[in-house]
Every structure is written in C-alpha cells, then in structure tokens.
C-alpha cells in the first residue's frame, strides 16, 4: 500500500505510535514524529513509496518537537535514530530537513553489506551513472535535470553498490535542493512535486523534489554501473570533459566513499572492479542543458 493512499489521520496515528515503516529500496526505515506539519510533509514527499507490513526495520528515525531541556522557554525539534539521546536539534520550522538528515544517517551509518559512495545516481539504457560530488558541485541540480530528461532516479545522495556483483542498487528518495537550484528545478518540474521551502537552515533554503512514481516502483531493479562522472559547476567554463586515469579515478572515488574503510578487502576489490569496468570523467560546466546533452550522448553508448 502506498503512503499516499493512507488517510492523514491513519498516518498520524502510526507516526505518533508504533511508527510508520517505509520501503526505500532494500531498506525499511520506520519514521516517528509528533509534529503535524512533518506528518503532512512525509505523506506528500513519500506518497509514491510503499508502506512495509510485517518487515523488520533497519532503523527507527524520530523527530519530536518539545521543550529544550537547557532553555525551557524554547521549543526544539529533536532527531533520534533508535537511541535514547538526541543526535541533533533544530528549530521546529526545520523538522523536514531534520527528518531527511536522519534518514540519510540511518542508511550511511549502517548499510555495511553495501559499498556506499556519496554520489548522485541515475539510470538510463540499463546502466547507472555515478556522480560523486562535494557540496556546491551542482550535483543535485544535475539530478533534477536528468530526471526531467527521463532518467530513473536511484538516489541523489548514495550510490549503493553490492560488493560481490558490482551492481548498483536504487534507494529512491527525493532530490534535496538548496538555494539557487530550487528555482532552476522549479522551472522544469511541476510545483506540486516539491516540499515547502524551508529557509534559514545550516545549508540555506532547502526543498525536496520528490521521487517520481516510476523510480519508486522500479526500486527493485538493480543494474551495472555505466560511468563515473565528477561534476563541477563553474561560470564561464563552457563544457569541459576530462577523462580520468584509473589511478586518479580510484583515488577520487575512494575519497568520496562513505564506508570504504569498513569493507576491507571486499571494498577494495569492489572499488577497483568499478574503476576497471567503467570510464571516469571530470565534467566542468556552466550550462546545465549542455551538460545534460553530454550525459544523453554518454548513455546512448550504453545500449
């Protein structure tokens, strides 16, 4: 059953009680919150996602709004992942971003049967492009553009790889956009697909573009990687494509990996296999449309 098909009342009841377990690719994450606005945001953002029934959850993520213990005149939103004590607090207006970061943490800190790379990941023609990227590279904007061009969203945060086979696994959630990229994405996606903009967060203004139904429905379809692209937006750069040597690619992708060191030899073998099997590029661009054209050209060679 999809979240969007439940009533808000039922959802609220679950969120304030036993928790609401949601399928995200291979993971089941159980959300809890006492906040009414966050309940509505969850129902909207994950409307296309399916509720898990009779499944073990990988984690329980709670965002509760209550009185600040140290400053009792203020209300705060508290994030907990399974634990008794809180991981983070933010003003109550930021419950949405807080829940998103909790969902990220729950996966990143625990999913060690997978090799995780901090990267955007989308699929076309049966192959996934892995875009490792630091903040400010424009990765999320590119994800939004690629989505509009018909690519299937695996994740805007994590490239999740099965070490034994090298296949990439979808973990569809929304695309997290911030500041200028929100307007850019709103120019090419309908407004109802976005969560309300929250301003004043540590990252500035944020909004989430929700994953389309098709990406969620096909979340069980894994595929091999097709290319690794390190994007960097730079005004006046034009379009510059620099192929990377295997050594450069390996070093760069390890640096962007979340749990490489936890995986020891299995991780090393998986990472080197990845570098050996697919080409790696540094993409420097000033025009997103031009960049997307280049991605389309790249993907046409996959089929």
């Amino acid at each position: 059953m999809r979240l969007g098909d439940t009533s808000l009342a039922d959802l609220r009841s679950a969120l304030t009680g036993v928790g609401c377990p949601i399928h995200f690719g291979p993971f089941v994450l159980r959300a809890k919150t006492n906040d009414a606005s966050l309940s509505r945001t969850i129902r909207h953002l994950y409307a296309n996602h399916t509720l898990a029934s009779d499944e073990i959850a990988d984690a329980t993520i709670s965002v509760d709004v209550g009185w600040d213990a140290r400053r009792p005149w203020r209300r705060v939103a508290r994030l907990r992942v399974d634990r008794d004590h809180q991981i983070a607090t933010l003003p109550p207006s930021m419950v949405g971003p807080l829940m998103e970061s909790g969902l990220n943490l729950a996966i990143a800190l625990r999913a060690h049967t997978f090799l995780q790379i901090h990267a955007g990941c989308l699929e076309k023609n049966g192959r996934a492009i892995i875009m490792p990227a630091a903040s400010g590279s424009g990765k999320s904007t590119l994800c939004a553009y690629l989505l509009a061009a018909g690519w299937r969203l695996f994740s805007d945060e994590f490239a999740v790889i099965v070490p034994e086979t090298g296949n990439v696994v979808p973990v569809p959630r929304g695309i997290s956009l911030k500041n200028a990229s929100i307007a850019l994405a709103k120019a090419i996606h309908p407004d109802p697909e976005f969560s309300p903009v929250v301003s004043g967060t540590p990252k500035g203004s944020v909004s989430v573009l929700r994953a389309p139904r098709q990406s969620v429905d096909r979340a069980h379809e894994t595929c091999p990687p097709g290319a690794i692209v390190f994007p960097k937006w730079s005004a006046d750069a034009g379009l510059q494509i620099a192929p990377l040597s295997r050594a450069e690619a390996l070093e760069s992708i390890i640096r962007n990996s979340i749990n490489y060191s936890a995986l020891d030899e299995l991780g090393f073998n998986a990472m080197t296999r990845l570098i050996e099997e697919v080409p790696a590029f540094r993409l420097t661009y000033s025009d997103s449309i031009q960049a997307i054209d280049w991605f389309e050209d790249l993907s046409s060679r996959f089929a």
């Binding site: 291979p26 009779d54 073990i56 959850a57 634990r83 008794d84 625990r110 936890a262």
Partner: protein
Amino acid sequence: MSAILTEDRSTLDLLAALRAPRFLLELPSDRLTDVLGRARSSNVLGRLAARASFLDESTTPPRLSRILRAVLIQADAFQRSARFEVNRLRRALGPLGDGMILLKGAAYLALRLPVARGRHSGDVDLLFPPKLLAAVESRLLEQGWVHQYTDEYTQSYYRRWMHELPPLRQPQRLAAVDIHHSILPLTSRITPNSEALVRDATDIPGNAGLRALCAADMTIHLALHFAHDGDFDHSLREAIDLDDMLRHFGSRTEFWASLLDRADLHGAQRPLHYAVAVTHALLGTPIPDFVISRLARHALPSTIDRLIRGGMVRCLADTGRISPGLATAVWRQALYIRSHWLRMPPPLLALHLTRQAARRIAGHRSTP
C-alpha cells in the same frame, strides 16, 4: 528472570535473545525491530550478532541476516583498527615495548577469545610497570601521539589519582591508547597486586613480545570494573563480556580455583561476588556452587547485599532504554555515587565532586 523486576518488553526480549539467540527468529517483525534498536542503543548489537550462529542459514529472514552481518562488518573494522594500533605501538616503543601487556579488548583480540567477537571498540589498553611509565609516555609523544585532553585539571586528575595516563591518540587515526600502571585507580579501597599482575602475565601465542594477563587476572580485571564503574548505563556490554569469559575459561576445571586464589591475592572478592551473581541473574552464566559460597563470605550483610545486587541487575537490564523509570534512575545515581566512593576516600571525593561541579558550571567538557 523474576530477579529482573521489569515488565518492559524490549528488556525481556533482549535478555532472552542474549541467552538464546534463536529467540530472535521467533519474534514478530515489530518486536524484532525494537530489540535490535535497543541492542544498538546499549552497544551490544555486535555482541548479539556474534552469538547469532544462524545468520547464514537459509531459514533466517534475509533482512535480519543483512542487518546483523552489517554490524559484524563494522565490528571487524574496529578490530582491524585495534590490531593495527597495537602493531604501531609495538613499532614505536621498540625495546621499551618488549613483553608489554595488552589489556581488555586488545588482549581478547590477540588471544582470539570468544569475547572478542562483535566488539565495537578500536581502543587499545596497555599495562606497564610504574617505573617505565615516564619513558613510555615520552617515547610515544616523540613518535607522534598526542594527548586527547590538554586541560590541566584532567591531566593532573589522571596522573595523581588514576591507574592510567590520560589517553593518547595518533592524530591521523581514531584509536585511543590508554597506558595503565595498575588495573584500578590508586586511591581505590582495593589495591590489586600490580607486581603479581605483571609477573604472572602470559605470552600471547603468535605475537612475539606481547603478553596478556593470565586468565584469572583478566577475569578479575573485568569484574572489578564491572562492579566499580559508575556508568551502569553501558555495563550490559561488560556483563556479556563476563558471561563469555566465564563460560570460555570455566570449561577448564582448574580455572575456578585459580580465580578464587587470585581474588584473594588482589583483595577483589567482593567485586567478583557481585560480578558473578549479577551475570548469572541476567544471562544465566553457570557458576559452580563452591565459587558462589566462597565469594559470598566477603559480601556485605545479606539484606544490603541483595539490595545492591538487585539495583545492579535493574540498571543493567534497563541499559539503553528510553525513559527507564524512577527506580532505575535512582539506582543509576546511587551506583554512580558508589563508584566514586569506591574510587576515592571521602575527603578527596568531596573535593573532586566540588571541582567537577564548578567545571561543569563554567562549561568545561570533563571526563573523570
């Protein structure tokens, strides 16, 4: 289990699972999620996973198997880190480190004991005779280790009153190194026989120049900290350690007699009494009757003894529990105070607690 005095379902499920891990396979999904979360909050999920021998069986739900395997992968990463740290320390210390004694996790790992599996700590504890301490410290600082706490009070607290130097760390790595010269703080009412600890340490097979405490001393070390440490919110992990250790060593008949002898030697009978009683109550550790009765001779008067044991069991059972309730909160506080009482004579304790309070008000982050 009636000794546990709790109706909290996750507590009972977790203890049942620790005693008989296949119990996890009988639980419905939501309860299983709760138990796994609770085990994680108590820092014992890795230990639980290590006991779950059914992981690779075809009838095990794939999701459960994946979750537990992921935890073990993480534990392996910590253990690699600890092994590497020991290697680096050995290299850095040179002849100074010949015959150095590994304590706690690093020792369990090197000895490949069952208690080593699923541990989530990469920290390394070493024991040296007091006269070598200054040389060891200056050598490590020369070789790039730095002090984790640089404020004067913490530094002087460790050096004057504790049984270890303030922790050291190599800046590029995560592991902390604790250099001990005894196994209990200097000011404790119990003074273990440090010479005997060092003299009777045994070589670690396959690791030239490394030693560990003998089996009985290793067990007593664990029991001492278990019964003396104030942080009963985390001691469920140590109860599991004790359970593993007593089951493993206890299969040798001569172990129990040597355990009692060494307890006499170190004056550690009462902490050992608490440790075996509480572990038995929580996890069903088999303890021979003659051991129980011999140790009971050193217990406090029966009513008080039962009260303290009950308090310990309650706190341990409620480890990692959200809102444990008034009784546990009271016992946690009482045992915390007790631990400081055991660590220091009253005038010193008063002075230390006052300083602690003043520092907290002034906003310092303190450890001791």
